[in-house]
């Protein structure tokens, strides 16, 4: 193959891309859709359900204050601390529940694996940035809130290339 021919061929394959769709996701306007409602556990089989590992969600009515999630996180990020809560739940005699510091959490989800009462799951919410460090510490009350999310863009593939929505 001659040098000039090779260079023309290379330029040509670049020029062909003018006709190909834009692949970039326009982030704050478009948000990628994930499978499911976040990483959860199936109580029957004891195996995880696929989903994004984002912010946690804590079901106060299941949590017994057994601290296993905080023990699991001890060697990983030490992001979970057990704190006193004001509510009274009959399954939670000690009245303690996990509080998660998202400045430290690495979103591995091993605390979800560790929780034997299926009280701690993860959600699709990944937008956790804040202006202060203290705002990254989520109390049990904040963790109980189900996040409102609108994520609907998917990767589409057709003969003009792949694109986001």
């Amino acid at each position: 193959m001659s040098t000039a021919g090779g260079i023309i061929r290379a330029l040509n394959s670049g020029i062909k891309h003018l006709a190909i769709r834009r692949f970039t996701l326009r982030y704050p306007e478009q948000k990628l859709k994930f499978v499911g409602d976040g990483f959860q556990f199936n109580p029957e089989t004891g195996v995880g359900i696929a989903g994004l590992r984002g912010r946690h969600i804590l079901y106060h009515e299941h949590c017994t204050g057994c601290q296993l999630c905080s023990v699991a996180c001890e060697g990983i990020a030490e992001a979970i601390g057990m704190v006193k809560i004001d509510e009274t739940w009959k399954q939670n005699k000690k009245a303690i529940m996990p509080q998660i510091d998202y400045g430290k959490c690495v979103f591995c989800g091993l605390c979800v694996d560790a929780c034997p009462f299926y009280a701690l799951y993860m959600t699709n919410d990944y937008e956790l940035s804040s202006f202060t460090k203290s705002a990254l510490i989520y109390t049990p009350a904040q963790l109980a809130v189900k996040p409102k999310i609108s994520q609907d863009v998917e990767i589409k593939i057709d003969d003009r290339g792949a694109t986001h929505g």
Partner: protein, 377 residues
């Protein structure tokens, strides 16, 4: 007035013709490492790689954590290839604890690690492109990588640090309709990869810069103990997936890519050709995978390994990656040694760069498929 030097310390004798250059350790052009290069005009006289800037003590950290808590930090050395770096760890711990892995989990692990190998290779290719000043080759793989990141995100729930493989199987089953979506995106990526040929690999400018530079002969490749694509580019047919098949690789249909030239072009071409083989493995694994069944054998809480030691290795994106684990009846390992391909390939850098043009340094260096963070662990 001559400065009095402390006893035992000498100043290096410098030839006036020779200039010493420090490449790195800041990021552009070297990754997190330093190359001390001596040049005579435009030619490199000697090269002294100086790794260790991102040493994080992963091996020591592993001695204080139990077998499950070790998972998230052990994948940190190569976050772009996190399934492959966890793979030998899982194999080793499974042997240590005597755990059987369900058949379906084995196939899922193979799919995850092949997807991850492609993600790593595309990232490597993007950086290889920008090292050589080919900015299109930076943008195309960096964009196409997204397709596979998206697949692994659907599988594992994280985009880069998946923590998906665990001793005993995988963390969760595949989502619904995953197979169909996976095949569609694998087909599309394969189509895209073919376009890289004309713009990059068959581009006369790339060929003239890389062909015949940094030649590593077959005997030298074996003698220096190189591994992975560097070894295969020098004509040695050695792939751990073929030679010591782990999990289900022996049932799968793929070939080892070998080239004889041993130059920098061959070293950069092999990972690219292997991506096609990875696509083939993924398709075959999806076809042969049991359609249902368990994916994880539950471990006891805080499992203890016996008085034993194991060594397991896999073929990662950068060559052989092995874990040597010694346990002494405790929930934590007594010693974990990670043997990585990057560090083993680093040794040939002084040999390859001697007598090369300084301008060829980036292509030789990054063609070694070297990942500084992994080498330093």
């Amino acid at each position: 007035m001559a400065t009095q030097l402390p006893p035992g310390i000498q100043l290096e004798k410098v030839d006036d013709r020779i200039m010493t250059l420090n490449v790195g350790p800041q990021h552009p052009g070297s990754g997190h490492m330093r190359l001390i290069i001596k040049v005579d005009g435009d030619y490199i006289v000697s090269c002294d790689p100086d790794p260790g800037y991102v040493h994080r003590g992963e091996e020591k950290m592993a001695e204080y954590r139990n077998y499950i808590q070790n998972i998230p930090h052990l994948e940190r050395p190569v976050i772009h290839d996190s399934c492959n770096i966890l793979y030998p760890y899982c194999l080793a711990v499974e042997e240590l604890l005597g755990i059987e892995v369900p058949e379906r989990a084995k196939y899922i692990r193979v799919i995850a690690s092949e997807l991850n190998r492609c993600i790593y290779t595309l990232y490597w290719l993007a950086i290889y492109g920008i090292f050589l000043g080919h900015s299109t080759m930076f943008m195309w793989p960096a964009g196409d990588r997204e397709l596979f990141i998206d697949l692994l995100e659907a599988m594992s729930g994280a985009r880069v640090t998946h923590a998906y493989l665990v001793p005993g199987g995988v963390r969760n089953d595949l989502p619904a309709n995953f197979e169909e979506r996976c095949l569609r995106q694998v087909d599309y990526l394969e189509k895209r990869l073919k376009e890289y040929q004309s713009i990059f690999y068959k581009n006369p400018i790339l060929i003239s810069r890389t062909e015949g530079t940094g030649i590593l002969s077959r005997t030298d490749a074996i003698r220096l103990g190189t591994t992975g694509s560097v070894l295969r580019a020098s004509g040695v047919d050695y792939d751990i997936r073929k030679k010591e098949p782990y999990d289900v690789y022996e049932n799968l249909d793929f070939e080892t890519v070998v080239r004889k030239e041993g130059d920098s072009y061959a070293r950069s071409y092999i990972p690219y050709l292997e991506m096609f083989e990875s696509c083939r493995i993924i398709r075959d694994a999806i076809r042969k995978m049991p359609k249902s069944g368990s994916v994880r054998t539950k471990l006891k809480p805080n499992p203890k390994g016996g008085n034993d030691e194991v060594y397991k290795r896999v073929e990662s994106g950068r060559g052989s990656l092995g874990y040597y684990i010694v346990s002494n009846n405790r929930p934590e390992p007594y010693r974990v040694k990670i043997s990585v391909g990057s560090f083993r390939n680093l040794i040939c850098m002084p040999y390859l760069l001697k007598g090369e043009l300084l301008g060829n340094m980036p292509s030789v260096y990054w063609g070694l498929n070297y990942w500084p963070v992994e080498a330093d662990r």
